[in-house]
């Protein structure tokens, strides 16, 4: 029961209180870049959830069973980014072979995920926070869910903004930033939730 409560607290923290995009500023490029249409936002979100969970799993294993025993923790950054890059490549190939329909839907976004700082961010955070294996995986999953949630919310708002009358100078990126600011204000309300 206690474990369940801990997992619940972690989910709330990762999705709402310390949201990766709005509170930690990670993964802003896809958040601004891929939030123009709802369906592409959904595709990107799914791909990111998958890669973040996988990356959390593998980087934790590499850190614990390779870097720490060999005392080469200083290679962490290099090792993690290579792991993530190969993971993304692998995922891309597997999806292409087994689920061509899904590959077509995600296709464009998959290679972009390597340079999504949320992925490397969650991997390093897991190590810094000294999570156990299971919690590291769960943290990756929840962080991905939080990212997807705000990405989809943003895409919904931006689809409506397309038809709104805006001053010309504010169209596109500037208004997207302002909207993100308003969303961050709303998410600030969650910071009262402490477990």
């Amino acid at each position: 029961m206690e474990l369940l409560a801990k997992i619940f607290a972690m989910a709330i923290a990762a999705i709402f209180v310390q949201n990766f995009v709005l509170a930690r500023f990670l993964g802003l490029c896809p958040y601004i870049g891929v939030s123009k249409k709802l369906d592409s936002a959904l595709g990107m979100g799914m791909a990111v959830i998958f890669v973040m969970t996988m990356a959390s799993t593998f980087t934790w294993l590499i850190q614990t069973y390779l870097l720490v025993p060999l005392k080469i923790e200083f290679l962490q950054t290099i090792a993690f980014i290579l792991t993530i890059a190969s993971l993304v490549q692998l995922v891309e190939m597997i999806i292409q072979k087994t689920a061509p329909a899904l590959y077509k839907a995600l296709g464009v976004f998959l290679p972009l995920i390597t340079t999504n700082c949320a992925v490397l961010g969650v991997a390093i955070l897991n190590i810094n926070e000294e999570y156990t294996f299971i919690f590291a995986i769960l943290n990756g999953l929840f962080a991905g869910l939080g990212f997807t949630l705000v990405l989809i919310l943003m895409a919904g708002i931006r689809e409506r903004l397309e038809r709104a009358e805006l001053p010309r100078t504010m169209r596109g990126m500037p208004i997207a930033m302002i909207v993100a600011g308003c969303m961050a204000l709303a998410f600030l309300g969650f910071s009262g939730l402490k477990f």
């Binding site: 290679l75 980014i81 290579l82 490397l120 961010g121 930033m177 961050a184």
Partner: protein, 194 residues
């Protein structure tokens, strides 16, 4: 003449943050104080200049197909150096910037310059380009951080600059303030362009 241009273009005309909207994550995350902004700018400039130098020197040896992974390894090595040096000499700043130092690896400005410039140009031009872009990035960070620190804390580099009657707008140094200031500045840049 054109060599000078490689240096100056990064500062205003092709400013990586305001014009090309690259590397937004660290810009928004560490701009809550001017001190952090200068630290982050210096770290990124160092990595940018050295990865540009290195990549421009070895560009002839890298097969085209594996150039991106090679660039990333070069960049990651320099980021590791910066990370360790900062931890040893400026531990307080290192702690403030935290996660965002290792994350310089995935900063699109650096990989972007490697791919778009250093992989194609000679050493001198690549160094100037790296310095210019790094300076442009640092200046953008300082502009945003100044606005946020003055409005949010009434301070600049830790010194009080506004009269005591001024009530700091806390929101400016919290997360939403970063997005709002950035959005308004981008709007201003658009206004200037037209």
């Amino acid at each position: 003449m054109s060599v000078i241009k490689e240096f100056t273009k990064g500062i205003v005309k092709e400013n990586p943050v305001f014009v090309m909207a690259l590397g937004l994550c660290p810009v928004l995350a560490v701009s809550s104080s001017v001190e952090n902004a200068i630290g982050m700018g210096a770290a990124a400039t160092f990595v940018l200049v050295f990865s540009n130098i290195f990549i421009s020197l070895i560009k002839g040896f890298i097969p085209r197909k594996i150039r991106i992974p090679s660039y990333i390894v070069v960049i990651a090595s320099f980021v590791t150096i910066v990370d360790m040096v900062m931890e040893a000499y400026v531990p307080a700043l290192h702690k403030n910037l935290g996660l965002f130092i290792p994350l310089i690896v995935v900063n699109c400005i650096i990989l972007g310059r490697a791919e778009a410039f250093a992989g194609k140009n000679n050493l001198i031009r690549s160094i100037l380009d790296g310095f210019g872009m790094g300076l442009g990035f640092t200046l953008a960070l300082i502009v945003i951080a100044s606005i946020r620190e003055i409005l949010g804390a009434g301070q600049f580099l830790g010194y009080n600059v506004l009269p005591a009657t001024f009530k700091p707008m806390l929101v400016a140094i919290l997360a939403p303030g970063a997005f709002l200031v950035m959005g308004l500045l981008m709007g201003l840049m658009n206004l200037k362009k037209k």
